[in-house]
């Protein structure tokens, strides 16, 4: 996707302020600092070099040391008065403050750096900070699973050291398995944490929910796969399965389509019909039991029969004395 003009101008403004405060920066360091490719950083400096004050004659232009530039180093000679860093726009401050407050709720992220970053940003944001205060974040599900924070630390350690992980994991079918995985990334959807990893047992990429990890330890063996760079397109945490199922849902359960990449076949004020590609029928059963009254119908019928029978067995336990209800 092409970068938005405003985003690029924000970087040009930030770069010149950054360079004005330093004697010299290598092009590679400049690119790394602003999180762009060296080629993009080069284009940015070249654009800055062409800009200046009206007249655009010698002495009106932003200028760099030419001989250093030829050696891959950036050294600013003339900033044309642009050395001041620009304040945050209202929308920019709101977007950042809300994001910080949201991630502060996730287990494993709260810490002194997050608290102090939020304090400093709030001070710099001015009135935008009070706008951002109107956004609240509900306690994520992962916050109720205390073991997640410990697993997060282990996974980060393995990612940082380029090691494999030995996992004991319980999947949707309630089956406990031992797996050795090569960690690729840690992901969160704001509600749960997932480890994206190449599973040697499955021979493929799998997503492991950290609240379903029984134990995790960093292996002595090096991982052959490098951690992935961010790629929003690859961040879906659900594999596409072979079982096609159609769910007729109450409109309030529209989230099923949104969260699980479902295809909406029909939508009215009374119901929404969603097609899902399910990899594991036991995952579907758990979803159906979670939806309860919000699921009006399920097709094919074999799935409906299986999960309805399971629900009846479960209900029986509430009625039998030995089932535990006193």
């Amino acid at each position: 996707m092409r970068e938005r003009t405003a985003d690029r101008v924000a970087r040009l403004l930030a770069m010149i302020a950054y360079l004005a405060a330093r004697e010299e920066v290598t092009l590679a360091d400049l690119a790394a600092h602003f999180g762009v490719t060296p080629a993009q950083a080069r284009r940015d400096v070249e654009t800055l070099w062409m800009t200046g004050s009206p007249g655009y004659l010698h002495g009106d232009l932003i200028d760099f040391q030419y001989d250093r530039w030829e050696q891959g180093r950036v050294s600013l000679l003339d900033s044309q008065g642009m050395e001041r860093p620009v304040r945050l726009g209202h929308g920019e401050a709101v977007a950042l403050v809300v994001a910080l407050r949201a991630i502060a709720e996730l287990p494993g992220l709260a810490g002194p750096a997050l608290t102090s970053a939020l304090d400093k940003l709030t001070a710099a944001a001015g009135e935008a900070a009070s706008t951002a205060a109107a956004v609240a974040v509900d306690r994520p599900a992962a916050a109720d699973a205390p073991q997640v924070a410990a697993h997060l630390a282990t996974v980060r350690d393995a990612l940082a050291r380029g090691r494999r992980l030995d996992l004991v994991y319980v999947g949707a079918s309630d089956e406990v398995t031992r797996r050795t995985v090569e960690p690729l990334a840690l992901l969160s959807d704001g509600d749960q944490w997932y480890l994206r990893a190449h599973c040697l047992r499955a021979g493929d990429v799998r997503h492991f929910r950290l609240d379903r990890v029984v134990s995790a330890s960093v292996s002595d063996e090096a991982s052959e796969r490098r951690p992935e760079a961010a790629d929003p397109a690859a961040d879906s945490v659900r594999p596409r399965g072979d079982h096609e199922v159609t769910l007729t849902l109450d409109p309030r359960a529209r989230w099923v389509a949104e969260r699980f990449d479902g295809q909406i076949l029909a939508e009215s004020a009374e119901a929404i019909t969603v097609l899902l590609h399910v990899a594991d029928p036991s995952w579907l059963d758990a979803l159906v039991l979670d939806l309860g009254p919000d699921l009006h119908a399920l097709a094919p019928a074999e799935h409906a029969r299986r999960v309805a029978a399971a629900a009846r067995r479960a209900l029986a336990a509430y009625d039998e004395p030995e089932g535990g209800r006193s």
Partner: protein, 318 residues
């Protein structure tokens, strides 16, 4: 002659307006600032300049419009240099690392661009970051009404919108004193006071049909803003009977697990949590788990089981 990119033109405009001794007129900008000469006619210049003004404001650059005798009827523009600077902010490598993680939570959403720009501006005065998170975070993409609602909240305005009720599916016009936006369980909500229903309500933004209209300020009969919604949490520990070797994920978060007097069951105690999350977790195990306490969790799980038990009813009749 090489064409001037919009970014280059915008940057040149900032330099010109920052350094100008007096406000610049449109004519001065058109003839003097690099890039505007590419406008082929007056209309093209106007479009170009209007776009650039919007971009400058988006960037937080304080662009002032001056009307006065100096230019007759014509407008003049300048940048308010006293309001231009980022306030002094000293960030540690850890803090800029955290901010970097925060800036990416909106990837794929409209807020991604302003968040990235905000981070970029902070990088101008920041040291190299450490990445304390090594993780990628996403929040649910805010619905299209997000911006309008956030603005209405900060300006204490009322809003009205068509809302699809959960049970009837009927669409009704609501008039709401908006209090706050809430992200919960993968969706965005508006919490506020519903003037039609005369009570506090939570509105799921995906069920708002169409746009949000902001009403003129109306302070009469305004309700005090209530506390933030916190979901329905259980107040006491949940006590469960669990089949041996089953429901491992549930046991992982247990406060205690011990054999029960009843044969074939373990007694598992969970700390209080969100009622909906607990009911989902428990119901998913069907007959492997039986809830003893608290009663609201028993009800929530049984409601789910009863509905699912009827899923093949049509099947049986046939």
């Amino acid at each position: 002659m090489a064409t001037v990119s919009p970014a280059e033109r915008l940057f040149d405009l900032v330099i010109a307006l920052r350094n100008a001794r007096a406000p610049m007129s449109r004519a001065q900008i058109r003839s003097g600032v690099n890039g505007y000469h590419e406008a082929e006619n007056d209309a093209a210049f106007e479009r170009m300049f209007e776009r650039d003004k919007v971009a400058l404001r988006e960037l937080g650059i304080p662009l002032l419009t001056i009307t006065g005798d100096a230019h007759g009827d014509e407008y003049g523009y300048r940048i308010d240099v006293s309001d231009y600077d980022l306030p002094p902010i000293e960030l540690t490598p850890e803090e800029i690392g955290v901010l970097g993680a925060a800036a990416q939570v909106w990837d794929g959403a409209d807020l991604a661009s302003p968040a990235r720009r905000g981070l970029t501006k902070l990088l101008a005065v920041a040291p190299a970051s450490t990445d304390p998170l090594a993780g990628r975070l996403r929040l649910p993409t805010p619905d299209e009404q997000f911006d309008a609602l956030l603005a209405a909240i900060s300006q204490r305005r009322l809003v009205t919108f068509a809302y699809r009720a959960a049970h009837s599916g009927a669409t009704q016009e609501r008039v709401v004193e908006p209090w706050r936006l809430l992200v919960s369980g993968g969706a965005w909500y508006l919490q506020g006071y519903d003037r039609v229903r005369a009570g506090e309500r939570l509105f799921r933004l995906s069920r708002v049909a169409g746009g949000v209209r902001v009403l003129p300020p109306d302070e009469s009969e305004r309700q005090p803003v209530g506390p933030a919604y916190e979901g329905r949490r259980t107040r006491t520990d949940a006590v469960l009977l669990v089949r041996p070797d089953r429901a491992t994920a549930l046991r992982l978060r247990a406060a205690s697990v011990e054999p029960d007097a009843r044969p074939g069951y373990d007694r598992v105690v969970l700390a209080p949590g969100d009622l909906g999350d607990l009911a989902s977790l428990v119901a998913g195990y069907a007959d492997a788990v039986v809830v003893l306490e608290p009663p609201e969790l028993v009800d929530a799980v049984r409601t789910r089981l009863l509905a699912v038990a009827a899923l093949d009813a049509g099947d049986a009749d046939a």
